[in-house]
């Protein structure tokens, strides 16, 4: 990479850190640069410490970077907490009137903001100074600001432009080691966070009903959906608890529309009873579990990949389900469309594992988001049934999939049920029937696994393979290129389609390597256990992170070097 700059903007919640991040991201995007931003905050509305960390490059970015080139400190705490992350020659931009000394560059941020029209514009001052240090043309910042404040009126635009100018001018003459020449090009893609991508994917999949109970970090998904509901046939209902939320979507699905819920681990715990009910009554639903660390309330605003086995095994007894774990917003969009499609096709629950990192981080998506031309619903009308007056909702078929009619849409009387049942849907406790019905439901798994995409290999013929799933995939790909530059024979194998595990492809891809290591955001290497359990193949080592923060590529690269040694 010729340009690889990381800017960290830190301060208290309520200081407008996210706005600075958004504005800088937009300026980069509009000039044809690649950018990604992680959002790190505490579970509080005011005070404390939070930051946004932006990485800017002229090459696609897959993960955050471990070193900071420019630290923008909106409070003193930011300096103390993050100065050790500075790269050699890195700069701290902070409040003050002193002379530039060592790595610190002081400007009177608050005073400049007051001059512009209020303390509230301090973040705009800081962003101006930031862009000035990077050598960005002011004109682009001006345009971005004008758009951003357009809704608030000309007065707000004027005030903020003044703040921007004062910040921009205040650091004129200061030197920043990584300043580069900006050659504005057309944007490489759109900026999108995982929450929005999941919501757009659901919309494109023709999801018409979403019910939820607010829970970080999943709530953003529902806020987006709620905004779409003014323009599309979609109802978003805030339920009294997660139990009601999932049962509402099961009711909506039974009545015939695609429906979803999104929550985090604790909320998913409450949904488990109804997950089994959806499976038993064979009503397709989609559940997004946006993972955060810890049992109980844990760390509400942090990231983790520790709900994998729970998601695969949640509920009593045995039934088939799909589990997906997208790596990026682009993948999340596509995964949502497939999750709904496959849930309908097999009349089973689809679960999508996201996490705080994927949900709250801004990524650049280069591929345009495409909606399917048609939605296949796999629903039987009277005309599709040989004898609608003798309709069997749970008819035994070779595939295990029974024709699915909808209630009150024809002559066929639909009987749905959560008790074990015969073909018509009335309760049955007969031993033979129980076996037939369990076989029918679980018999779908073989065909379901054929619809799973194989893992994506990158230098798949390498001696050592790094295996990852979900949002850790990006950092692993960058780690591979770092290691290969050092001459190591390393590749990776990344999983987005987790369950049913695409067995043949997994076995053949892993068998080629001399050894494989597994990278996961949990403490017990859950995916490594799953691979061993399913394929009999055992990993040679693991790289695990469970401090609530996303992987940096360097951590994986160092981990691999240690393991190989």
């Amino acid at each position: 990479m010729s340009t690889n700059i990381t800017i960290k903007i830190g301060g208290e919640a309520g200081q407008g850190i996210q706005t600075v991040g958004d504005l800088l991201s937009l300026v980069c995007q509009k000039t044809g640069l690649y950018v990604m931003a992680i959002n790190d905050f505490e579970s509080r509305i005011r005070g404390g410490h939070s930051f946004m960390q932006l990485r800017i490059s002229d090459q696609p970015i897959l993960a955050p970077y471990h070193q900071v080139h420019l630290l923008v400190a909106l409070d003193e705490k930011t300096v103390q907490l993050h100065k050790s992350e500075l790269a050699d020659g890195g700069l701290i931009l902070m409040e003050g009137t002193g002379q530039a000394a060592g790595s610190a560059l002081q400007i009177p941020i608050t005073e400049l903001a007051m001059q512009a029209g209020g303390k509230i514009t301090a973040n705009i001052v800081a962003a101006g100074a930031c862009l000035s240090l990077l050598g960005a043309p002011f004109e682009i910042y001006k345009n971005v600001l004008t758009d951003h404040f357009a809704k608030k009126g000309p007065e707000a635009i004027e005030k903020n432009l003044k703040a921007a100018t004062l910040g921009y001018e205040a650091v004129k003459g200061a030197s920043f080691q990584w300043v580069f020449e900006w050659k504005p090009e057309s944007p490489k893609g759109s900026l999108i966070d995982g929450a929005k991508a999941v919501a757009l994917g659901a919309l494109a999949a023709d999801c018409r009903m979403a019910a939820f109970y607010p829970m970080s970090p999943a709530t953003g998904i529902l806020s987006h959906l709620e905004m779409f509901s003014d323009h599309f046939p979609l109802v978003v209902e805030q339920a009294e608890d997660e139990i009601a939320a999932i049962n509402m979507i099961i009711g909506a699905s039974f009545a015939g529309v695609r429906a979803m819920t999104a929550t985090s681990g604790g909320g998913f715990c409450l949904m488990v009873e109804a997950l089994g009910f959806a499976a038993m009554s064979e009503n397709p639903i989609v559940i997004v579990n946006t993972q955060r660390p810890g049992p109980a309330t844990g760390l509400p605003t942090r990231t983790a990949q520790a709900d994998l086995l729970f998601t695969i095994y949640a509920s009593q007894d045995e039934f088939p389900r799909f589990v997906f774990a997208p790596a990026t917003p682009t993948e999340a969009f596509d995964v949502m469309i497939r999750a709904f499609h496959l849930a309908d096709k097999y009349q089973v629950p689809s679960l999508v594992l996201s996490d705080q990192y994927l949900t709250d981080s801004i990524f650049m998506t280069e591929k345009p988001l495409k909606a399917p031309e048609k939605i296949e619903r796999f629903i039987a009308s009277d005309a599709d049934l040989s004898n609608p007056s003798d309709y069997k909702r749970y008819a035994l078929t070779p595939s295990g999939i029974s024709p699915r009619a909808l209630p009150c849409m024809g002559k066929a009387l639909v009987i749905g049920i959560g008790n074990e049942h015969g073909e018509y849907g009335h309760g049955s406790e007969a031993a033979e029937n129980r076996v037939n019905m369990a076989n029918k439901r679980n018999g779908k798994i073989h065909a379901m696994s054929k619809d799973m995409n194989p893992p994506k290999a990158c230098y798949g013929d390498s001696e050592t393979l790094i295996v990852a799933w979900g949002s850790s995939q990006g950092a692993v790909i960058e780690a591979v290129s770092m290691l290969r530059k050092e001459g190591m024979n390393v590749g990776c194998l990344n999983f987005t389609d987790i369950w049913p595990l695409p067995m043949e492809e997994t076995i053949s891809a892993l068998s080629k390597a001399k050894r494989f290591f597994v990278v996961e955001g949990n403490q017990t290497a859950q995916f490594a256990s799953l691979i061993r359990q399913q394929t009999g193949l055992t990993h040679s080592g693991t790289i695990l992170k469970y401090d609530g923060r996303p992987f940096y590529p360097i951590e994986i690269a160092d981990g691999v070097k240690n393991l190989v040694r």
């Binding site: 018409r208 109802v235 139990i243 049962n247 009711g251 009910f277 009554s281 009150c408 639909v414």
Partner: protein
Amino acid sequence: MLSLKDYQSDIDIKWCPGCGNFGILAAMKDALVNMNIAPEKLLIISGIGQAANTPHYLKCNMFHTLHGRALSIATGAKIANHDLTVVLNCGDGDCYGEGGNHFISTVRRNPDLTLLVHNNKVYGLTKGQASPTSDLGMVTKMQHHGVISESFSPLTVALALGAGFVARGFSGDEKHLSQLIQEGIKHKGLSLIDIMQPCVSFNTVNTFAWYKSRAYYLEEANHDSGNFEKALELSRQWGDRIPVGILYKKEKPHFTGRIHSLKAGSLISRTYNSAKLEQFLARI
């Protein structure tokens, strides 16, 4: 015209002989036939328990769901297709115990559902433990020193939450109950009909005779069902005299009628518009 035969099911009925549920089943059939609602135009959603078996003994579209969750599932079904006629069969433990939170929130939402609660004041299917509506002091095998919690008053709670249709029925009077069910189905919004239903196996206190000697009809007592304060007072009346009939009735805006995105028609009736989506996605 429909006849009772149209609702005749050939499923073996699992209730005990003499169960109060038989009266409710008969009243439902009578009401549905009287209103000329065809089986294929009706959706019954039930929870779990003896009451929840009821729709199997009719012939219609039905969803026999989870303990306590029927109201949430029915709300979801109404959101998807608000043109459905939806009736619920739930028990007292089901609706007021396990599903208590959903009961509270559903009354507040006021979806157009007819909720029949078979209130036998005991858990029947699990063999006679106390339920939320068991009277204070009632002795059961599990509460052998007597129930020590105050009895839950569903009618009072529903009124306090702003319910628009609050009634009490008696399974021992099928004709009267049928009338209540018909009124309930006609009412736009949530209609709560709490039904006094004797459990002949596990409730030796609240028997047919016990109810019969205490029940009096609000129609005959010239009760004004538009009088909220009076309804609230009646909802607390229990003991020597028990009011039966419509305590309170008032049309209020109902849930799906208030949802902005349903003004253009039910969700299920709308078409997928790929071109509009493409335009929307292109602007992201």
